[in-house]
Symmetry: C2
Subunit: 311 residues, 2 copies
């Protein structure tokens, strides 16, 4: 069955960037210490996630959950996943560089209003800043993942036209990010829109410089991942346990869960290289930290059955 | 966005066959009276589901939850959904006919072992019986939906090869069922296998005589629905509230939830004709009957947000 599936795909290796320690934790109201963040990063490293976002170099007044990412970076082991961090501007870039981080995420929103609310900058200024960071990063051998946030729908401006995103993508691609990530920041995308968008981007730029970032607010996270896979995308952000949703909204999930994406890929004959048992251990670690059960949509099934089917 | 999505599709009308009153209820241990089944059918009819499976004409010893389907059939209104019933054999066909049912489901398993365990008949005998029912139904103007159960994986024989299902499909199609339904009875399919299978069947038989029936055990229900939609399938079984899972296995969902499928289709620009508000009312009705919260994967989001986005 998996062999039949493979014929749809360009390669059968999927690269997952684990974002629980950044996009996941930053949405939580529970206080998490540096030691706990370190523990989470260790657990996720043991699960062999290929890329791991450790935090962001942002103002600790704006996002107190991310305070101390510099100190955290100094504790990272030399081997294991590729460690990554989010930087909001050139200052963040420099702080991250100083700690030896050489894969960074920068974020531009697809809409003016979201961009203003998120970083208090116009889109014109933000694209200019992105261009500067991208040029410098190219010279300094730093990988940049450029994110286009709210690429399907914006909480302030509503649906975003595909043509708008394609034009912004083309602008960014001129500055050669190592990856352009199309992000459904609020979990409002549907798989038909995802397939349409990603198929167009793949036809223009090939697959190796494209990624997707989905949230699972409307339970369409896995359908969106499949739609992107089917369009040829092979790089995805996801969060262990689906961490990232508002803890006060029962049922309103956060990022698409890493364990769900691994299951989807592996049952379809695609390899992620991730150790599911160890990954579920890191979900258990998150459950303990949050004081509430964490886990993606298939968490119950996976914890009871994965060992049986993976043999 | 929905317009862009449409370009992938042959038609933008999706026909949903609501199966909560049959596949949903038959898995429950809670005792449900005929009056309650009638109440559920009324609620679902108000939601404008185009097809509604009311129950099965099977031995009440084997499936006590379905006892009295004949009496139930006599209470059905003349207008509203197309009412449907499952029949296990020619006797069931005759009982259903006597009550005026003119759309019926017959089930053949893709594997010998499942077929034996399900209806204590060999596959050879079951295909022969299906042939007899199909010929008679053609003469008598009765629509038959022929199901191939465990078409991706069997709990006894493991993975089912696509070639096996294609051959069985070809055998059934010679007897001209009004619909051939590929059923992932245990919720073990992945979207890449679904797309591969359904694309092949669509290329052989077109879309209007094909349907899919998914369970959501591994949380891949919506991804599988999208994969089938993307292959051109436009007829799906689903169950209000995702009813159908074992009530003793928390998180192990049953059939893919009608409200989730409606959301997926409608946000992708495809029409189901179903009234979401009324559908969520019938989920509330099920919650009351079961004495436990029912609802699909997106139930929380839908109950809080559907009105806003559907305006």
């Amino acid at each position: 069955m998996s062999l039949a599936g493979k014929s749809f795909y360009m390669t059968d290796i999927v690269t997952i960037k684990e974002v629980a320690a950044r996009d996941g934790l930053q949405a939580q109201s529970v206080e998490i210490s540096l030691e706990q963040r370190q523990e989470l990063i260790e657990a996720l490293s043991k699960a062999k996630v290929p890329e791991l976002e450790i935090g962001s170099f942002v103002s600790s007044r704006a996002v107190p959950q991310m305070a101390g990412t510099d100190a955290l970076a100094r504790t990272l082991p030399r081997s294991g996943p590729k460690f990554s961090a989010l930087v909001p501007n050139m200052k963040g870039y420099e702080l991250a560089r100083r700690e030896g981080i050489d894969q960074m995420a920068i974020v531009i929103s697809a809409t003016e209003q979201m961009n203003q609310n998120n970083i208090r900058k116009s889109l014109v200024d933000t694209f200019a800043m992105a261009g500067e960071i991208l040029s410098r990063a190219r010279r300094e051998g730093v990988e940049i993942h450029a994110y286009l946030a709210v690429a399907f729908e914006c909480p302030y401006e509503g649906k975003v036209a595909q043509s708008v995103v394609l034009e912004q993508a083309s602008k960014l691609m001129r500055d050669e990010p190592s990856r352009l990530v199309i992000a459904d920041t609020i979990g409002a995308a549907n798989p038909s829109a995802v397939k349409s968008m990603m198929a167009e981007l793949v036809s223009q730029y090939g697959t190796h410089r494209l990624g997707c970032h989905f949230h699972d607010t409307r339970a369409m996270g896995l359908a969106n991942v499949f739609a992107a896979l089917d369009a040829g995308v092979r790089q995805f952000d996801s969060s262990a346990g689906g961490l990232g949703g508002c803890p006060f909204a029962p049922g309103a999930k956060g990022n698409v869960a890493t364990e769900d994406v691994v299951m989807l890929c592996e049952t379809a004959g695609l390899s992620t290289g991730i150790d599911m048992e160890a990954l579920l251990q890191s979900v258990a670690c998150l459950t303990q930290m949050m004081g509430a059960q964490q886990g993606g949509r298939a968490h119950y099934w996976l914890t009871n059955n994965w060992q049986k089917i993976s043999k």
